[in-house]
Every structure is written in C-alpha cells, then in structure tokens.
Symmetry: D4
Subunit: 255 residues, 8 copies
Amino acid sequence: MHPDKIRAVLEGVRDGRSSVEQALGALRDLPYEDLGFARVDHHRALRQGHAEVVLGQWKTGEQIAGIVRSIAERSQNVLVTRVDVDKARNVRAALGAAFEDLRYDESARTLTLERQAIEIRGRKPIAIVTAGTADLPVADEAAVTARMLGNEVIRVTDVGVAGIHRLFDARASFERAGVIIVVAGMEGALPSVIGGLVTLPVIAVPTSVGYGAQFQGLAPLLTMLNSCASGVLVVNIDNGFGAAFAATQINRRDT
Amino acid sequence: MHPDKIRAVLEGVRDGRSSVEQALGALRDLPYEDLGFARVDHHRALRQGHAEVVLGQWKTGEQIAGIVRSIAERSQNVLVTRVDVDKARNVRAALGAAFEDLRYDESARTLTLERQAIEIRGRKPIAIVTAGTADLPVADEAAVTARMLGNEVIRVTDVGVAGIHRLFDARASFERAGVIIVVAGMEGALPSVIGGLVTLPVIAVPTSVGYGAQFQGLAPLLTMLNSCASGVLVVNIDNGFGAAFAATQINRRDT
Amino acid sequence: MHPDKIRAVLEGVRDGRSSVEQALGALRDLPYEDLGFARVDHHRALRQGHAEVVLGQWKTGEQIAGIVRSIAERSQNVLVTRVDVDKARNVRAALGAAFEDLRYDESARTLTLERQAIEIRGRKPIAIVTAGTADLPVADEAAVTARMLGNEVIRVTDVGVAGIHRLFDARASFERAGVIIVVAGMEGALPSVIGGLVTLPVIAVPTSVGYGAQFQGLAPLLTMLNSCASGVLVVNIDNGFGAAFAATQINRRDT
Amino acid sequence: MHPDKIRAVLEGVRDGRSSVEQALGALRDLPYEDLGFARVDHHRALRQGHAEVVLGQWKTGEQIAGIVRSIAERSQNVLVTRVDVDKARNVRAALGAAFEDLRYDESARTLTLERQAIEIRGRKPIAIVTAGTADLPVADEAAVTARMLGNEVIRVTDVGVAGIHRLFDARASFERAGVIIVVAGMEGALPSVIGGLVTLPVIAVPTSVGYGAQFQGLAPLLTMLNSCASGVLVVNIDNGFGAAFAATQINRRDT
Amino acid sequence: MHPDKIRAVLEGVRDGRSSVEQALGALRDLPYEDLGFARVDHHRALRQGHAEVVLGQWKTGEQIAGIVRSIAERSQNVLVTRVDVDKARNVRAALGAAFEDLRYDESARTLTLERQAIEIRGRKPIAIVTAGTADLPVADEAAVTARMLGNEVIRVTDVGVAGIHRLFDARASFERAGVIIVVAGMEGALPSVIGGLVTLPVIAVPTSVGYGAQFQGLAPLLTMLNSCASGVLVVNIDNGFGAAFAATQINRRDT
Amino acid sequence: MHPDKIRAVLEGVRDGRSSVEQALGALRDLPYEDLGFARVDHHRALRQGHAEVVLGQWKTGEQIAGIVRSIAERSQNVLVTRVDVDKARNVRAALGAAFEDLRYDESARTLTLERQAIEIRGRKPIAIVTAGTADLPVADEAAVTARMLGNEVIRVTDVGVAGIHRLFDARASFERAGVIIVVAGMEGALPSVIGGLVTLPVIAVPTSVGYGAQFQGLAPLLTMLNSCASGVLVVNIDNGFGAAFAATQINRRDT
Amino acid sequence: MHPDKIRAVLEGVRDGRSSVEQALGALRDLPYEDLGFARVDHHRALRQGHAEVVLGQWKTGEQIAGIVRSIAERSQNVLVTRVDVDKARNVRAALGAAFEDLRYDESARTLTLERQAIEIRGRKPIAIVTAGTADLPVADEAAVTARMLGNEVIRVTDVGVAGIHRLFDARASFERAGVIIVVAGMEGALPSVIGGLVTLPVIAVPTSVGYGAQFQGLAPLLTMLNSCASGVLVVNIDNGFGAAFAATQINRRDT
Amino acid sequence: MHPDKIRAVLEGVRDGRSSVEQALGALRDLPYEDLGFARVDHHRALRQGHAEVVLGQWKTGEQIAGIVRSIAERSQNVLVTRVDVDKARNVRAALGAAFEDLRYDESARTLTLERQAIEIRGRKPIAIVTAGTADLPVADEAAVTARMLGNEVIRVTDVGVAGIHRLFDARASFERAGVIIVVAGMEGALPSVIGGLVTLPVIAVPTSVGYGAQFQGLAPLLTMLNSCASGVLVVNIDNGFGAAFAATQINRRDT
C-alpha cells in the first residue's frame, strides 16, 4: 500500500480527526472494489498513469465486460489481453452501443478502449523485432501493449538468423530504440545475434511456433536463457504482454 | 561493427586516401587480436567504457592469465567470472608480482583488476535482493559485476517470502534503485512479491540452491517465468553476472 | 478390514455359532457389493460418517447413475467429482424424477445428493484461499467437498502475491480456520507466503492455470514442493477434492 | 507482523506517548537481530514454543556455530538439519566446551541442543513408517524433528508393499497415532496402501533411494501425488524435516 | 528367414534344379505379399498358429479392410487393435456382407474375425487384474488379445491398493494362472503389491488414466519400473496388446 | 550478402559512378521484396537453381497464395510444405484458374507448382526408407521435396527392424543411392541397422508415430541421436522436408 | 500370508487347541525375525527354494555381514547384489575366516555364498545377449543371479545392431533358450531386432552406457518400451538382477 | 556382409569347388576374430580403407591395449576415442616400447597410431567451426577423426553469434570446404547462422558447455534440431567423432 496514504491516515489518527476504526475502514475500501468474482485493482493503473490491464484468458466474456465497464466509469483506458474471437464477440454483445469504440485486434488477441489520449511517457521508442511470420501474433500483443502503456513502437519483421543479411539492413532502425523486444520461435537464436550487435537492453520472447522437438516453446526458451550474448532477459513463452510491460518499466522517463 | 568506423574507412576509399585492400586490412585487424586459443574482443570494452569481462569457467589458469595480461596492457580494467579457488591461485602464480593488485572474491568467484578508477555511469543504484543466505554467492557475483561496470550497488539480504515482514522493512532501501535484481533459490517466489510492490524493472535470478524437486534450479526458474507480477525478467540459473550486465544496460545514463 | 468385525466373526467360529465357510461368506459380502463394472465400497462412507465419494471422470453417465442409485438406497449422501456439463445431464436423465434433489455445480464440476442433513464434525472451519479468478473451479471443488464431508468453509478469493496488501487485509479471516487450503496456478507462490504468516497446517493445490513454461501445472507444483515456508503439504495438480479430503482428516474432532 | 504489537505501538502514538519515528524504530528492531550474514528470526521460535530450527545445508560450520550461540543465549533449544559429518565436527570445534551437550545424529544428519526440557504438546504420537532400510536417514530426520518440536514418536520400519503381510502386523501400532508420516523410496507405493487402511492424515515423503528410472526421487514423488488413496499429502524428496514440521502443526493441541 | 527354406533353395541351386535368379524370386515372394501400402507378413501367423495381428491405429478403414480380406482368404483368424468406433464402421462398410462375423469390441477397441476355432495352447489361464474401472479398456484389449492367441483368461477387476482387502479376497482366483497381467493407472502401485504376493511372472501395464502429475501414464510407468517387488516386467503405457502377446509367449506349452 | 555484389557496388563508389546513398539503396532492394507480411527471399532460390520453398504451417491460405503468385511471376517452381487439406483448398480458391497446375499431395501435405522442367542435378538417387505404414506421410514429404529440388528418388517401404529379413531383401535397391533418408517412428531403431549395413551418409527422421512412452517422437529422436552405428545424422521429429533438403546439399554434383 | 498357515492356526482355535492370543503370536513370529535395522524375509527364500537375495546398495558392509550370517545359519545360499569393491572388502573383514567361501564378482558387483549345491530347476537355459562390451557388468549381474536361482545360462556377447551379421551368426545358440535377456545401452535397439527373430519371451534391460542425449539410460528405456517387435518386456535401467529374477519365474518347471 | 564375398563363395558351391560346410566356415571366420571380451570388426576398416576406430570410454586400458595390438598386427592405423589421461597412460604402459609412435591428444582425448601414411580420399577439406574456447575439445576430437579417416581439415575457432562480425571475416575460409561441422555449446545458435550463409551440408554438434538451464547440452541440442536454417543435421551431444565420421561419408570421392 502506498506509504503516503498510510501516512495521511495515521496523521488523522494522531491529530484526533479520525478513530482507528475509521482509518482502517478507509484504507481497506480505497484502491479496489469487490466485483464478486475478482478484485479490480485501480491502484495499479493510478501508479502507471496509463491503461488498466486485464488478463482475459480465463475470464468469461461477461466477466470481462463487467471489469471493462467498471474501469471505464473512471475514464481510464483499458487493455484486455488473450481474448479469442468468440470471447471478443461476447464482450461486445454484453457491453452494447456505449462501447462501440472498443477495438479488437485479432492477431494480437487484444481488446482496447481508449477514453483518454495516450500520453507518450517513454524516453525512446521500443523496438519489436520478429524472426518469422508466424511469430507476428506475439509481437502484435507486445506492440499493442507497449502503445497502450505510453510508448512509441518500431516494428521490424521477418529478420531471422537464417537470412542474416536482412537483419543487418534493418539494424539502423532498431538501434535508435531504448529497449529491444525480440520475438522468436523455432530455435529462437535471434536474441543472441541482436544481443551481440547492440548495447541496448534486449528482452527475448520465446514463442511456441515450431513442431517436434520444439516442445511448444521449450527449445527457444532454453536457447534464450543460455544466450552467449551477455544480458539477454527472458520472459515466458508467448508472453508478448510481459515483455512490453517490462520494456515500459525500463523505458520510463522518471526511472 | 561500428558504422562510424566503416564510414571513415569508406570515405578514405572514396577520397583516394586508401586502397580497398588497405581499408580491408585496417578493418580486420582493429578491434581484436588473435591469442591462439581465443579472440579477445577489445571492441566490447570500448563500447562499454568499463571493465573487459572474461568468462573463466572453461579456461585454464594459464589461459586466463594470458588474457588478463593482454587486456591490462591497454590499461583496461578486468573482471573474470566463475573462477574457483584453485584456478585463482594458478592465475596469480602465472601473472606474478606485476599483478599483485589482482583481487579474488571467494564467494563471488571473481577476479578483478582495477587499473583505472571506475567511473559511475549508472543513473541510480542497482539493488540486489537475496532470499536466503545460500544465495549470497550468486548475489555477490552480481554485485561485483555491477560495480565493475560502473554502478552503485544497494544490498538487501535474507528477505525471503516465508518471513515477509522483513521484506517490508527493507522496502524503502530498494525503492530508490533504478533496477532491482532479485536472487532466489528454493521455490524462487520472491521476485513475484517484489514485482507486485514496485514499479521498477525487476530482474530475477533463479539459483540452484535447494534439493530434491528443486532440480538444480529448475523450480525457481519456472516460478519466475510464470510470475503473476507483470514484467519480471529472467536470466539463467545462477547467472548473477548476466543479471548485473543487463541491469547495467538498463541503468545507463545515455539510453 | 475392521478388526472388530473379524473378532466378532471369529468368536462366532470359536463358539460354534457358525462354520468357517459361513464366516468367510459373511466377511466377503459385507462392506461392498458388485455392480458389474465397479465394486462400490460402502465401508468407507461408514468409516467417515458422511457422503460417499465417487470419482466421475472416467465413468459414463449411466455408470454414475447406477452408483448414485445404489448409494441413495442406503440413504447416504453422495458426492460425485469431475463431472462435466454433458455428463451431468446424462446422469440426471438416467436417474429421473426421483433424484430431482441432485444438485450440479458447474464451476466445481460436482454432483451432490443430500439425503441426510450434513452434521458438522470438523473442529474449526476450513479456509480455502485462491490466488486468481481462474483458480476458482479447483477451489470450488475443494469447497463442495469440504462441506459434504462435514466442515464449515471460509472462502478468500483473489489474493495473489503480486498484490500482497490484499492478502494482509484478508488475513484475519483465515487465521481462525483449523486448516488452510491454498489454491494457486501461474507460479504458485501464494502457499509460501501464507505458510510464513500462519502456524496452521497449509495444504497447497497447484492448478494448471497458466501457459507456456507453466507446463500444465508443473511450475506451481515444483514451487509448492520447494516452499521455503516449512511444512507446506502438496497434492496433485487441480486436485481440489484431495486437498479437502485431507483437510477433513486433519480437522476431525476425534483425531 | 503481530497485530497486537502494532496495536500497542499505534495506541502509543494516539496517546502521544511516542512519536511516529520512535514507534517505527521500535517495530523494526524487535523480533530479529542482524548477524551480518543472516537475520535469525527468534519470532518463529516464540510462536512455536519449541526448538529454533536452522537449515544447515548451505551454511559453513562457522556460520552454524554463530547462529547456535545466538539462540542458546536466549536459552532456547536448537535443531540444525542437513549437517554432514565434517561440518558437524567444525561446528563443535567452533563452539568449544560450553556446548558439549550439542548432540550429532549421523543418520539423521542433525545437530540438537536441549537447554530446556521438551514439553510434549502434541495430541497423540506421530507415527513414522519406513518402507526400506535405505530410507532410514530421512525417517530419522523426521523423528528427531518431531521430537524436538514436542511430539511423541512411534517408529515402524521395513514394511514395504512387496511384503505386505509385515505391514498388516504393524498396523495396530500406527493406528493409535494422530498423524502418519510414510517415508518411501524406490517406487514409493507404501503411502497409497496405508492411506487406504487408515483414516488418519497421511504425509508421504518420497526419497531418492533407487537407481535408473527412479530419477533421484521423481518416481516416488509422482506415485505419491497420484495416489489412488484420497488425501495423501506430499512433501519434497528426502524432506523428512518438512514432513515432521507439518505433522507437528496438525498434531498441536490448540488447533 | 527360416534356415530350412534357405537350405532347400540352395540345394536346388547345388543340384542344378534351379538357377540363382529363380531361387531368389522364390524366396522373395514366399511369406508375404505386397498390398501396395504395406507388406502383410503371413509368416508370423504361421509361426504362432493363431490369429494374425494388425495394428489399426494409423491405418485407414480401407487399408484395414484390405488387409483383413487378404488374411481371411487364407482362412486365418484376424485381430485388429486400436480401432475407434468410426473406423470400425468404415471397415465394416468396406468389407460388406461376407464379413458379418467380424466382431467389434468398443471398450477394447478391437476387431476380431474367427474363421477357425481357437485352439487353447496356453499351459494355464492368463489372469488380468485391473486397479480401477477406468483401466478396463486396456484390460479388455489384453483379454481379447490373450483369447485370440489361444489362452484362457481370468478377469479380476477393481482391486486397487487403496482398498487392499478386496485384493486379498480375489487372490485365490489369480493364483491358479500361469502369468498375471496387472493393469493400473493413477500411481500404478498394484503390480508391486501383487508381485510381493505371488511367485508367478507379473507383467505390468501402466495406463494413462489420471490427471495432473500423472503425465499421461508417466507416473505409473516409473512406479512399475522401480517396483520393490523383484521381477515385475513392464510394457508401454496403455499397451494391453503387448502385455497379452508377451504373456502368450510365456504361457506356451512348447517353451 | 554476396561479396561480389559488394565489390561491384564499391567499385562504383570508387570510380565515382555512384554516390554512397545510391549504392546503399541498390544493395537494400536487390534480392528480396516486401510483401507486407513476409520478405520472400528469391535469393535463395537463385542459389539453389530449383524450387522456392515456402513453409505453409503458420501462414493463412491467402498469405500462401500471395507468395506463390509472387514467385510464379518470375517463372520459378514452388514447393509449399505443411499444408493441410482445408488450407490447400483456400490457396486454390485464392489463386484461381491461372494456377490449375498447382498440385496438392494429401499424404505429403505439399503444394507444388512446376513452371519449369525440373533438372536433375543430384549425383545419384536419394533413397527414402520407411519403417512402418504410418510413417509414409513424413517419407512422402521428403520424397516430394527431394524431387522438387532436383533429385531422383528411390522408395523402400515397410522394412522395420522387427521383420528384418524384409530389410535385407530391399538392401540392393538402396545401396545404389548417394544418400539414404530413414524415416521411423515407434522406437526408431531402423537407422542404426541400416547405418551398420551401408557406408553411405544416413539421415534419420524420427516421427511422432507411436503412443504412450513414445512421447510424440521423443523416443525415436533419442534412439537416433544415440545410434551405435557411427555417423547417423538426425533432423527434427517429422521433418521430412529438412532431411530431403540436407540430402540434396550432400548429393549435389558441384560440391 | 499363506492361506494354509492361517487355516491351520484357525483350526487350532476351532478345536480349542489354542487361544486366539496364542495363534496371533504364532503367526506374527513365524516367517521373519527382527535384526534391528531390517526384517530379513526367510519366507521368500523358502518359496523359491534357492538363494536368499539381498540388495547391497544402501546397506553398510556391517549390515550386509549381519544379514549374510543370519541366512547362512539356516544353511541357505546367499546372493548380495550391487556391492562395490570397498564394501565387499568390509563384508569379508566383518565375516572372517568362517566365510572364506564367500565369492565376489567385481564386474557383476555380487557376493555369493553357496552352502548348498544349486539344483537346476529351470526348464531350459536362459540366454543373456549383450550389445556392447560396456554392457557386460549388467549382463554379468543377470548371469550370476540366474545361476544362483537355479538356471543354466547361455552367454552371447557383443552382437549390436550396427554389425547385425554377428547377431545372425549367434542366433542358433540363443534359440534353444527358454527366455532371452537382452542387455543394451546406447540407443538400445537390439531387443527389437531379436524380438522380431524369435518367438521366445524377451526381457530387455536398458543400461546407462552412453553419453549426452542417452540421459543415463533414458534413451534405451524408451526404445525398449516402444519396440515395434510385439511383446518385448522391460525392466529398470541397469537392472540385471530384476531381469534374471523375472526370467527365473518364467522358466520354472512348475509354472 | 559384402555381397561380392557371398557371391564368390556361392559360385564356389555352384561350381562344386567347395562344399556348403566349407563355405559357411570361410564366411564365419573372415572379417572378425574373437578377443574374448569383444569382437573386433576388421571388416569395417577394410571398407573404409583407413584407421580402425575404437571407442575407449568403457574399456579398461588393458582392453584397449589388446585391441590396438590386434589391429596393428595387420598394419592398420588406429584411432581410439574418449580416452582420459590416466587411461592413456595405462594403455602406453601395457603396450610398451613397440608402440612409442602411439600419440595421445589430451584435448581431443584420442590415441592414434599411424602405421600407414594416411591417404587423402575426401573431395574437399572438412571445415570445423567452433563457437567458444570451451568447445575446443569436441572440435579437436572431430579434427583428429577427420584426419585419421582421410580428410584435409580447416579449423575456424571462436566465432560465436554474439560477435557475428568475426564469423563474416572467417567465412571465406570455410566456404571452400565440402562439409562444415559446427561445434557449439551454450545456446548453440551458430549452426543456424552458418546454415543460412552457405549451401554446403552443415553438421551441428551440441556440446555440454554451459550451466544451469543448459542442462548438459540439451539446450543446444534442441536449438540445432529446430534450426530455422533448412537442412542442418545433428549428432549427439559432445559427439565430435560422429560428426567427423558422417562428414567423411559425405565427403568421399566415390559416393
């Protein structure tokens, strides 16, 4: 809990403006509210000054709609991740006409609601580099997330290590970024090569794109964890959102 | 290779100041030299303006001594990682009296040579948080690395999740950092808790400390990759060096 | 087999009241009966004084209906676990109007029949704590089971480690329990934190909620087995029933 | 942190008896002290009223000696686990004559110091059942732990499932326990059989005893997690201490 | 290839009765014929004097029908394994009225054609023991196979280790067998218990019945391989056919 | 990038025929063109003088159609792999009547377009040997690939190790090849046997054909990697294409 | 427990010759005796009429000596398995001159004591076939075991699949056996080939001989479980004893 | 067995020059001889015209010496692989002064005896490319093997993907090879990059160099199997010998 809030509440106690019981109640009710099935934490959004993020994967369309409505009432932006086409349709149906500005990106599997203009707060753009066409959905999730959290985004696609001259052509464009997210399936060798070329922070996202001994992303995950390029940072398989969230934290002006 | 160098060389060609063959030779010989068993890349150190890093694990004491001597001749600082006690002794014996300022840290398993004062180039301190006493060697490797690469370091030790009140007491000290490195063995839950408390970038280092179903670090590795705190970044098991290297890239003033 | 029964039978033999063959027959036919496809063990229910439990997962609707009918004839309560919606419909269809009081809980995937009032035999309530919304089905299975086996239940939901202040708010409510069941997917760190806060027995249930390197529950399973909080007890992935069954054994007044 | 302590401190603030800064300081320094390399938590021992437990595995003999001395100064009992013969010798050497009552159990790999008589606080004995001779060290660790934490212990040894008549002979002795700890290596089938015989809580400890496809304890770990006997609870491979710690929590009179 | 056949052919060559080319042709065409997609080996059936066995899993209904027809033309019995309901329907449709005696067992997933009376050639019955109801399909596959290969079969069902008194009741019936096949999912402990009770050869079949850490049969597979009962023999997960085939080889009168 | 091209471009710069900017532009646009979702690399086809290869698995029918059209405009042949029936239909629909010569092989899951006669450039035929009927799709993919890349193909089917006399009969036919591709599922022992019989390069392809402990191809993959026949080379599970591609490189006249 | 014994005891009770308590005592003390650290089961040896078997791996030399002495007092033969050189020396030292006929086989790692002539009770010889020289220790363990349990043994060595002509030469010698034990490391393909050649029961023993992706025997274990030769039976990695024990059960005249 | 030999023998039979028995004897005794512990196959060396290869890993120094002597008597060259320093010393001691020309390479762990000049029979050199210094022993094993089997060798060292400009500098030297062996530990990305640069056959050798999630070579093994560069061929972890053996087969003039 935020120390300033506690301080304020305690000063109220000290100054006799409130009893201990009142203070306790105030603290408890403040930064989230109970929707019955999940406690939505507005606190987080406040800290970040940007879109509230909702993980859509194990929620029903009705649950997502309820959360979106609750957030929108406070005029905040919303990002819902891991929403498949059918669930997106259900969310729309449940929200109705007042939410026609809710946008669905089928590749990124995201729902976004922009009720405020997004203020760019990142120091530099975030570059998102993709090894193969099949990795685009994960890269798209990262791109939508990075944008909703207040970053410019540079996209570089289809520059796998097996045709490494393409990578060198594209290099100029990603070297002006503040962080690089590298999305790669199959054997996931791209972050090692990029990590050896640049001095920027590199976040590697293994994807489940592959077959056989790729083991649903295990192969590139191990590759990235063992990268001979020092300092490659790794997130979970197919976790484009997590990579963009971390990149935002790295890229913030005030850190 | 650095575009400016290529540009300079090509302008020489364009202006007739040098032939193609000369330019090629210049480029080839520049940033590294052949020691027979390994090409030492001075290039990297130049880019980073700090210590040259050598991975000591699979090199003999003689090989390490040779590399250290080669770097020291250019008056650069040196950091050698993953050196056990016996190998450190061999390195010293091979280098002799001229290298009495070579320092060995038995816990961190590092050899360091500071021939230049280390210039602090990081924006803020790097916090290194440890869950248990047994994780200290990995945290020490991270701390030595962070310092040699030009960062202030904040240490917080023994604040595991099973005694979570300790963590809250220590919180103030790590919240003024620019990046947090969290080192944890056993089940490795600490980065999730810290990742939920702060908005700074969090780099998680799983350690092989544990037994049985800890599987030499697999358990905390999986824990960290699946963290419910968004944006936790993961490096290889016991890779304190890699965490500090990445933290340095994140923390640099000029990015 | 129960020693008292054997004793009684043997005394019959000793006293000449029955031949060895008769005694053997009596012993054999007593505590279960053959339904052709499975021997229903009424014995167990007798020992526990509560609902007879049936694992529904690999049985057809027809088989489940047959077993339910057989148990109900002895006026016992029934709990059937791991029944999906379609199978529940088949069971109902097969049982007909005489079983309209058969209740189906879609989240918990349980069928329950209460033909006797459930007598509370647990010393204290059983607390069931859930990390995320997606873990509710497993927690619901645990809750239905705990109730059917004669326990009061306290529910605490959505208190994951990434928002740990929520957990502290909820702490008072679960500290009055006799046992705590902690249900957690993703990285499954919650039992470690709770295990460090309380001195009650903690039963941890990993769930398959997650993706990528969560490996269908392997990640939280390993986390829980390696918990740095001493004494965390673990059951199989998604096994809400097993956790509640064990909690009932721990919580019984007479042990 | 304990609510009563906070309450007392806050009432001091409310009543003007202390400033916020003083209260904060008091809270911070209370329940542990800094030994430099590890924060010893006396808090825990106070809550449990019994021996303070120290995990010896990754500590040096000197570190263990320091912690033992610190605890003994408060006249508390001490249990140090996972100490091999050489380390035990180092601890003794470092502690000297004042600690001649420090006892080392080579099979259990424990050091124990009893400066207070152990008060039996468990409701019933804890039974510790072993499948094979090779599993005795883990069972011994459990037995020493159970005793040091205030329990009577019943030992039953060498009753593996391949000679199941032995198990039935021994049954009477373990049925009067309050909890049963079953230690088993190889395929680890014993907890399933015992779990089907009794209605007591069963804690299963897989051991690394076996070879080939036993995979250092993975085989019995999986066996126990999948037990067809409902309610078998599992701890980490070779974790005799954890089993006894959990059994103590289950067995306490006041829960 | 059979040495006698080669001898005969070679004597033909020696005696001038046939050229090398003729002999070669004769050898090639003898014991199988080319159906285009698979070489059916009548040879095997001849050696075994019983049903020809066809693995149906990766063949189309049309392919199976072709093979069945080819075998039936030689008046041999046929056993096709791993045929699901839809494929069975296709086979029937393709074979038409002349094959109305083709029998499909939905649980065992077998097609059988008995054009000759099955001669019992086994020394004793083969006992097939099942731990749980869900394991019946694999046991049924074993039973159908054992019968088609010329064995009497004893079935014992639902005698899992968690209700071990049932097993002892059933013991008399399986002790008169020549071999025991034990089929068990979940943790697969049953073969260990039976292996300790009898001195007959025991073949253990792990099944994929279970969830979570059962890992599709890995848990009982490891259990059975590590059985503390000496001499338990193991086949692949769900391989009821293989167990019965091996049991037949063990049980043959002439070995 | 090809050194000659760079040389030519640089000579232009040296001779003043072009500015640096022009040269850079020329280099960038040369060997591929941007289709928006993927950079098609005509370069590769040029190097190989044969069909351009497209991996169809994670592309939509529309994307494949676009790539095929782009390649066909340069009168090149096309091979698209890993296309299931539905996707093949979509590709056809999108391409229309001008591509009626596009051929789909349902077993191999390939689309092929032959706009030029295929010139045989391999030194000798490539033999493709299959252990079981179920492995045919992978072998077919290898065969189509080998042919499209300019090789003659010898097919040998259904010669598994369990009926090893068939293998010896077939031996003469595959010994005249230049490379042997061995496709095997189940336990994958065939490459070891063939590797011991011949002195030709052997490429082993494990397939996912099997069940239980075959683990979707892991079993034959490990078998092949550990082959006691020296020099067996392995590709990914089910990777018929990769095997044929490598075989083509080995078999080329000019290497 | 043996039904006849129970019957006798119960008849005593029925006829008034003994009280229940007496009978109980008699039953309990009969077939084993307590040595303090392990209950030696003479029962087993009686059933098998041959050597008593002791697993030496996790016992000390002193423990083994105690057990050997206890068995020898009843004039039984003894087989101790998994005894390394140092432990064997300790056993000898502890037993002294009275046990000079105790024989140690360094390759098989067995101690044997023959106080009775071994009576051959097997129907036919047991063949033990080895793929490579390095597999000999496991095969030797099997051979010693088979002999001590009353079987003739045929040895065939070094007939791996990579030189398959050797196997065919040796075939005549193993076809007269009653059971074949095939010991193979590396990829473990030999049992598949032999299983396809013979109609005898085949017991496959994977060994840990290999490196890299052999994973200490996992590779041949999976190979053997997935054998395309029907009916191959598998035991644990390096378990030569278990294979010979099972072979003895198969080979016994009276089954 | 070689068809020509069989043909010759059979023609002898047909022409009456020899009886069947004589021919059989001749065939049996020809290409190997029995040394008691292993059948040395001279046949193989004859086919390859080069050094006889012996796998030293699981043989004693005495056994190796025996085999070397046996081969040397036929004036053949010998290559013994996987011999550590101590064993090499034993071999030398056993062979004595007559084998002073036996050479030991400590890095490659090979013993070589050149009694004949090695005739170069490869079409082109074999290039052996190494990613890191620590991979040199495996590369050295490959180099010694390639040379002993009649190939020229090109060595390129220390060109890992993290400093990819070094690779481009070295490219000219390996493009004139006939086959490329790429040896790489850590994440093993190098074969993917090289496979994308060249059109030569690429054999990838994963090494166990790394730590943590490298899992003794599993990480680079999976990387190489999933390479996005088509046609990369893989051998077992650390199998430098196997790579060179396969490269020799590919490189032979007569294939």
